[in-house]
Every structure is written in structure tokens, then in C-alpha cells.
């Protein structure tokens, strides 16, 4: 199914969870926070939160800033 991650379209298998996606993307879960359709998904729920068709995800981390 089709989703978007940080505005980039991406295909994932149905049943993919947020935790699966982060592994697929090679991201360290501790360093990121995830929003699904404008709602924050707490890290504790990444493993149970299954993605749905057309989900829009934001995956953010911390960067240098003032």
C-alpha cells in the first residue's frame, strides 16, 4: 500500500507497523519521533501501530538549532 513519509511517497506491505517502517528506513527509534496524520504516536505504541493506506507520516529528529 501507498503511504508518504516526510512528503516522499513510499510503498509498504500491509500490516507494516511504525516500528517496522523505522527499521526499514534504518532509523534509530530512540532518536526519532513519529507523527501519523498529524497525531503524535508515542514510541511505546510504535510496535502495535499498523499503517493504513494513504497514511501521512512525519519522522523527525533533533538537529543543530538556536
Amino acid at each position: 500500500m501507498q503511504i508518504t513519509v516526510n512528503d516522499e511517497p513510499r510503498h509498504v506491505d500491509s500490516g507494516t507497523t511504525i516500528a517496522d517502517l523505522l527499521t526499514e528506513l534504518g532509523m534509530r527509534p530512540k532518536f526519532v519521533a513519529v507523527e501519523r496524520n498529524l497525531e503524535l504516536v508515542p514510541r511505546a505504541r510504535h510496535a502495535e501501530c499498523e499503517l493504513a493506506e494513504n497514511d501521512r507520516l512525519e519522522v523527525v529528529t533533533l538537529v543543530g538549532g538556536g
Binding site: L25, F31, E35, L62, G65, G66
Partner: protein, 273 residues
């Protein structure tokens, strides 16, 4: 002279200088400058994780999380709604890292890209919402005393007026407004913390802000953009301390005419030829 530490809500700071982590040429340079600044609180931004990163390095690999309290900002947000989202995302990351900075945010809600000046109405709305959500809100704002008072009344942990626009290096452009802000915020609440955030260009700007009676200074570009960031970082640390001590010591009043420092008696007789 002994000084009280700067207290921001539940956080007690050892240094009155808060520094940013942006714009450094390398993470290594950033690390050295953070060290030289003597700061124990450092700001970071929340941004999209790059989906493909050649070396996979993250700023968090270069920050000692047991030493620094991270203050996440909402830089780049132009609406209250986006600032609230970003604040929550930052909190989520810092909670996972068990850093004490997970309970506060440096709130920036900007009005436009040219000035990066804050949108005071959206800033107030975001402050109210974030305070309700349990955040300790450190509010970037203009030097307008009425706005400063409104933000304090809305529950801001600290009000942080800009000395001048972000990254402009113009220093404190309107010291009279800063004085009025200090009076309005601290008049009946002397321990309420007010920090100068943004616009600082040089060490004398930091010292001047502290001499006005501000409780701290937050800066980034003035160090990261200096020709020699490491030396400037040390200069900022010293200036912050010098300005604070100068404020506590109490300066002499300004007078129009001179007052001799040397004794006016016992002077030799004038030459008569």
C-alpha cells in the same frame, strides 16, 4: 560576591549563558564551543529525519546527554498549531532519551521569514496551549513590554525578548524597552527570569544585556558565525559573568561633567615663569 543560580521553573542552571547548536562547520567544532561556553543548557531544533543519510550521523551522537540539558525549540513554525506539534515531537524524543529537557520548550512562533520576528498573538495562543499540556514554556518574543506581561500572565516560565532580529548581530537595540520589560515582569516578582534571546553579535552585547538586569542570554550565531568560534565562545562566557557581576555590583550613576579620581588637594603650585 556570591550569586544565586538561574532558576527556570524546575530547572536550576549553573551558567546564565544558554547556547545554540546550529550553524557549526562540524560536530567536533560544536562540541568544543559548547564546552568553552560553560553552558549547561543547549538548544536544538526539531527537523525531519533525512531518509537517506550517507554517514548516518546524528547530532545526538555528539552531545553528552548526562551533562547537558537539552532545550528544544520550535524554530521555523509560523502557526501556533505547528509550534505545538513540534513541541510535542521534541518532548517525545527527549523523554525517550531520559534527558531532563523533556518538560520544557523554547517557543518560537514566527511572523515572517524576512524578519523572523515573533507573531505575538500566535505566540500567546501557543503558550496557553503548551502550558495546559504541561510544558514549561520559555517564550521568544519581541521587546514589547505589554506582550511580555501577557506571556507571563499566560503562564510562561520565562519571557525571552529579542535584543534584535535573530542572527542579525545588532545587539540590544532598544534598552529602554528591555528595562520596562524587566520592571513589568519582575516588579512584584523579582525572581521571575527574563532572558535576552537573539540578536547578540559580540561579547559586549552579552555583558550589556546582563548589566541591564537580564537573568541570562541565549545565543547561537554570534559564536557559530564568528571567525574563530572557539575563542568567541570563551569570550561570551566571560562577558556573561562580567555583565552579571557588574549588575550585582551596582554601577555608578552617569553624570554630564567630570569628577576627578585623584585628590584635588596637595597639587604642586602652578608654574609661573
Amino acid at each position: 560576591m556570591s550569586d544565586k543560580p538561574l532558576v527556570l521553573g524546575t530547572h536550576t542552571l549553573q551558567s546564565r549563558l544558554i547556547v545554540g547548536t546550529g550553524k557549526y562547520a562540524t560536530f567536533d567544532q560544536m562540541q568544543q564551543c559548547l564546552e568553552a561556553s560553560g553552558s549547561d543548557v543547549i538548544t536544538v531544533a526539531v527537523r525531519r529525519e533525512r531518509l537517506i543519510d550517507a554517514d548516518g550521523r546524528n547530532i545526538l551522537d555528539f552531545i553528552d546527554l548526562s551533562r547537558y540539558t537539552i532545550l528544544p525549540n520550535t524554530a521555523g513554525c509560523f502557526t501556533a498549531e505547528d509550534a505545538i506539534r513540534v513541541a510535542r515531537l521534541g518532548r517525545e524524543i527527549l523523554e525517550g532519551l531520559e534527558n531532563p529537557g523533556s518538560d520544557w520548550v523554547k517557543l518560537e512562533v514566527l511572523g515572517d521569514t524576512k524578519t523572523l520576528l515573533p507573531d505575538p498573538i500566535a505566540t500567546l495562543q501557543a503558550t496557553e496551549a503548551l502550558v495546559k499540556d504541561g510544558f514549561q514554556v520559555l517564550c521568544y518574543t519581541t521587546d514589547d513590554p505589554i506582550t511580555a506581561k501577557r506571556l507571563k500572565d499566560a503562564g510562561a516560565t520565562s519571557v525571552m525578548p529579542a535584543g534584535s532580529p535573530i542572527g542579525s548581530g545588532q545587539g540590544v537595540l532598544n534598552p529602554n524597552n528591555i528595562r520596562i520589560c524587566l520592571e513589568y515582569l519582575k516588579g512584584d516578582d523579582p525572581d521571575y527570569p527574563m532572558i535576552i534571546d537573539a540578536g547578540v553579535g559580540s561579547a559586549s552585547d552579552v555583558a550589556f544585556a546582563m548589566e541591564l538586569g537580564c537573568d541570562g542570554v541565549l545565543l547561537n550565531t554570534a559564536i557559530a558565525g564568528a571567525k574563530d568560534p572557539l575563542t568567541m565562545s570563551s569570550a561570551m562566557k566571560n562577558a556573561c559573568l562580567a555583565g552579571r557581576q557588574s549588575f550585582l555590583a551596582g554601577r555608578i550613576p552617569k553624570k554630564l561633567y567630570a569628577t576627578a579620581s585623584s585628590p584635588e588637594t596637595g597639587i604642586i603650585s602652578p608654574s609661573v615663569r
